[in-house]
Symmetry: C2
Subunit: 398 residues, 2 copies
């Protein structure tokens, strides 16, 4: 039975509204969800946000692992959601299918690339939704749309049946409005129990806060204080020995060279239509030389060593999810470019080290959602999810 969706948000792909009835019983029975249109659903074409990509695909022969386990746990999938072209974008802008509306920030972008999933959850069209996060594609839309959203530990949730961008960094993530529901979904996707584990130490990432606008810093500061009291031990430190912009530059080199390899054969064969900024991003990957990529791969080890030391002993690092609230939908490319660079300074750390990062949608700046993020050591997904649920209760966040 298909429930017609009243999608005033342009969150859903109108022509591939894959519907999968959830199992009768299970921890998610009775819930509805949506999946970014990069997850395969048997019998449906995976569109990936680009019409020329879609035109070259046939109906999927199997359903993506993540979708399968959610449906098996009782959740009903009601449709596929819009994405930035081939997940290449961080703002949710898609010229082919239209940029989904941000229900929490009218006139602003929803964030991306899991744009439609975030919009659908924030607008109440579904209980939760699947996205993916390579360079921030769950965290940023969660931040801009005021949702719980997790980039899990790299490799913890199987990518089977998902369109890849850069496999060394690709992850399956999800969004929810409510921390308890968020944890229930997480238990299914991570195949785990979300127990009462909690962080023992909070590190406030000073250099990350410096990247953010004053309005965002001011909005998050009281929250950071309250989290500090809750956790007990807290300190302020700089993450990067030089600058987060160096870490961001390295991550862009690594991810974009890898993501060029993923699309190069297809691009050469199809000469696809793309928005200019997407073609530009692909070509940035193509232009990288081995001499540029090799040192970036070495640098990755340094970031891992630094962060590994910092995150030991159930430490969480807190930082702004995004440097600003969601920007206007109407910006030019040259207005967006510096913002994107700042965003990557905040998203690059977890991506580089494969660590989980959760967005806590507990603040507002300029009347718009302003998310606080927590990063924990790889494998500590449960701790972040459990702490979000517990802290929301303790701090009486509704």
């Amino acid at each position: 039975m298909h429930v017609p969706l009243d999608d005033k948000l342009n969150a859903f792909c109108p022509d591939s509204r894959a519907y999968l009835q959830g199992a009768d019983q299970g921890p998610l029975a009775g819930l509805t969800f949506a999946a970014k249109d990069i997850f395969d659903v048997k019998g449906h074409v995976t569109g990936g946000g680009n019409p020329d990509w879609k035109a070259g695909q046939t109906a999927a022969e199997a359903t993506a692992w993540a979708v399968e386990v959610l449906v098996g746990a009782g959740a009903t999938m009601v449709g596929k959601t819009h994405t930035d072209e081939l997940t290449r974008g961080i703002l949710g802008v898609n010229a082919h299918y239209g940029t989904p509306l941000n229900p929490k920030a009218p006139g602003r972008v929803p964030g991306g690339s899991s744009s439609g999933s975030a919009a659908a959850v924030a607008g109440g069209l579904v209980d939760f939704a699947l996205g993916s996060d390579t360079g921030g594609s769950v965290r940023i839309p969660a931040g801009f749309c005021g949702l719980y959203g997790l980039r899990p530990t790299h490799g913890r949730i199987p990518l089977d049946g998902m369109l890849l961008q850069a496999p060394s960094y690709d992850t399956v993530g999800w969004f929810a409005r409510d921390p308890d529901l968020f944890a229930r979904v997480g238990a299914v996707l991570l195949q785990t129990r979300i127990g009462p584990i909690r962080p023992r130490r909070l590190v406030v990432a000073e250099d990350a806060f410096e990247v953010a606008d004053p309005s965002v810093r001011e909005a998050l500061e009281p929250l950071v204080e309250r989290l500090g009291s809750l956790i007990g031990l807290s300190s302020r430190e700089r993450l990067a020995p030089t600058s987060l912009s160096d870490w961001a530059a390295g991550q862009r080199v690594r991810a974009s060279s890898e993501s060029w390899e993923v699309v190069r054969e297809w691009i050469d064969r199809v000469n696809p239509r793309m928005s200019f900024h997407v073609a530009e991003s692909c070509l940035a990957g193509r232009s990288l030389t081995p001499e540029e990529v090799a040192p970036a791969l070495v640098d990755r080890q340094k970031v891992m060593a630094r962060m590994g030391a910092l995150l030991a002993g159930e430490t969480v690092v807190c930082l702004p999810t995004a440097p600003t609230p969601a920007p206007p939908r109407t910006q030019t490319m040259s207005e967006r470019r510096p913002l994107t660079s700042r965003i990557v300074q905040l998203t690059c750390t977890a991506g580089t080290i494969g660590a989980p990062q959760i967005n806590l949608p507990w603040a507002e700046a300029e009347g718009l959602p302003a998310g606080l993020s927590l990063i924990a050591a790889p494998g500590s997904d449960e701790m972040l999810i459990a702490f979000a649920r517990q802290a929301a209760e303790t701090l009486q966040i509704d």
Copy 2:
């Protein structure tokens, strides 16, 4: 009165079939023509081959100069024709509107960017058609579709009301199947009389012939001999002191840096959808530094000096219009790239020096049109047109 067109060639823009009834009397009375969809027609939107460009335009307030004079001379305009996106392309490939068919070479591209105009004339849908030529956009489709086509002297035909690519190199050109009709149209567009002036010397450009496939060289060689006998004095020379690929590289730098300036504000504002190869070409222009452009501008003077000396005294230089017959429609980008580079080696000379170049559709290679080109000194358009007409008669080419 609109005559419905049976456009099986996808030559015409179906949604902007501007119709202008020709004047009752005049040298072109009773003829029909089409114009590339970069020429303004009052009351119609100029599409330029890109839907995001088109969406930002309003109906033209005036008709382009070239269209106006043709209609005033009695010709009836029956519609606008497809073009490569914003005239950026040489093969006629347009993913938004479809690549026009080449009536003389099934399964092959028509050449571009004046693709629809060439297809419409070659397929007999109109008597003649307007195109534009910046880097070969009349000459190459004329060559691939077996038509008379002229890139005129730069500046001889006003560009008013035409979408520009790189104004230092942009020209208005035209196509016809018949040399006499070609000359009649030329007399109107050039506001001249096509008298019996003829070349006094023929230079066979050896380095240009070396760029072409053996099949093309063999197809053109007998024709070169006959033209040599007709003209009297002839010699074989190399055009470039080093290599035509150096001349081509310089012209690409000059034209692409200038053409980036033409679109940069629009691209930044609109973030348009483009085929990958078009975005790539735009970004190649953007990536050029003043340190790369400055020497290319100096080199232009050297090419002008060399060619000025060679073309003095009613000399014409002959060369293959294109290095191969029209390539298959299905090539990948990496298959097209080396061909495009070779094409530019043959088209760059006239573009660099602002000289006229005519395609003579008098040969076939591999059963497909193979054009021979003549270049004359700037201002000698009449001589090329008159000689084409006279030689066609003398050589009994039908």
